[in-house]
């Protein structure tokens, strides 16, 4: 159970930077009234963020990742259970990899 000073300093730096990101966007919004276009953008941002996150991740995984991701999406859309959806995604990818080898 050691705690080195240099490690602690690095962790605190990481904490400060991350908090700045988490709170900074909203802090700016709280003191300035953003133009209507920015406000409309914020409405569209959530979906766009996750699509932008997922597209490169799926592209890196190739077609098995697209199939597995698509199955997770389908299960969520049909059954609305996130646990099932995640298990399906992992299971399908697992099956594809097992069949390939």
């Amino acid at each position: 159970m050691t705690l080195r000073w240099d490690v602690l300093a690095a962790i605190l730096g990481m904490v400060a930077a991350t908090f700045l990101c988490r709170a900074g966007g909203y802090a700016i919004l709280r003191v300035t009234r953003p133009p209507p276009f920015i406000q409309a953008m914020l409405q569209h941002l959530p979906g766009a963020i996750f699509v932008a996150f997922l597209a490169p991740a799926l592209a890196q995984g190739g077609w098995p990742a697209w199939v597995a991701g698509g199955s997770a999406l389908l299960v969520q859309a049909r059954l609305g259970r996130m646990v099932l959806s995640i298990l399906t995604g992992v299971g399908v990818l697992w099956a594809i990899q097992a069949l390939q080898w």
Partner: protein, 241 residues
């Protein structure tokens, strides 16, 4: 700015519990990630206390993993800080997008809730806001449920990582991607999302194709997609007027 007195119902115990319960399913997507961070910290020689302290206070998986990849002896204070700043930049617009739920809060409730904001709890809160509920305690509950799972899995990864040794391409690690796929479903609002989402995906792929690392594909896609959506809204409103 006028911080009006918080009206009843904007930060409730019920909301907190509902948030925690809703997040429980999604924690499954977080668990393998926590294990990886624990293993990486162990491999870089961080003690259990240091590892748990990092996970508890930073609580942002991708940036922790990248910082740990850069880890050296003595600890790289500047590099680790910059890694977090760059990779977590995506959280800044998320906080801004949560304004409808946060605007009535102040002090510890506001900044404390923002301090534990993560991608998954953000998505759940957006769904809440869109269905007319603006209880920010829901966000805190969801984030803290994920925090607990994050701590437990980081601990397990650090304690047993060396014994398990999962290869990096193992399907288990697809859980975080699958979790985000399932998040897309409640975020979907209908056909008007098709074009902005396509733009977001293509811009992200384009940025990645250019060899840009995190967070640029995400930021380019998110901002470009959102701007497309906003432009389409404006166009539609003009057509109606």
């Amino acid at each position: 700015m006028t911080p009006a007195p918080a009206p009843a119902g904007s930060f409730t115990r019920t909301g907190f519990r509902r948030g925690a319960r809703t997040a429980l399913g999604l924690t499954l997507g977080l668990a393998p990630f926590g294990l990886v961070v624990g293993m990486a910290a162990d491999a870089k020689g961080l003690s259990m206390l240091e590892t748990l302290l990092m996970s508890a206070l930073v609580f942002a998986g991708t940036s922790q993993l990248v910082a740990l990849q850069l880890w050296s002896d003595p600890a790289p204070v500047l590099a680790a800080t910059l890694a977090c700043l760059v990779i977590n930049l995506r959280l800044a617009p998320m906080g801004a997008a949560l304004a409808p739920a946060l605007d009535r809060l102040s002090g510890l409730r506001l900044w404390g809730t923002l301090a534990v904001l993560v991608d998954n709890s953000f998505a759940l809160m957006v769904t809440e806001i869109r269905s007319g509920r603006r209880d920010a305690a829901f966000l805190l509950g969801a984030s803290l449920a994920m925090w607990v799972v994050w701590m437990v899995t980081t601990l397990l990864g650090h304690a047993f990582g060396a014994a398990v040794r999962l290869p990096p391409g193992h399907p288990i690690f697809f859980a975080s991607v699958a979790a985000l796929m399932s998040i897309l479903v409640p975020l979907w609002r209908g056909r008007s999302d098709v074009f902005p989402w396509c733009v977001a995906g293509l811009l992200a792929l384009g940025a990645q194709g250019l060899g840009l690392g995190a967070p640029w594909p995400v930021l380019a896609g998110a901002l470009g997609g959102a701007a497309t959506g906003a432009a389409l809204d404006r166009h539609r409103d003009r057509g109606r007027a």
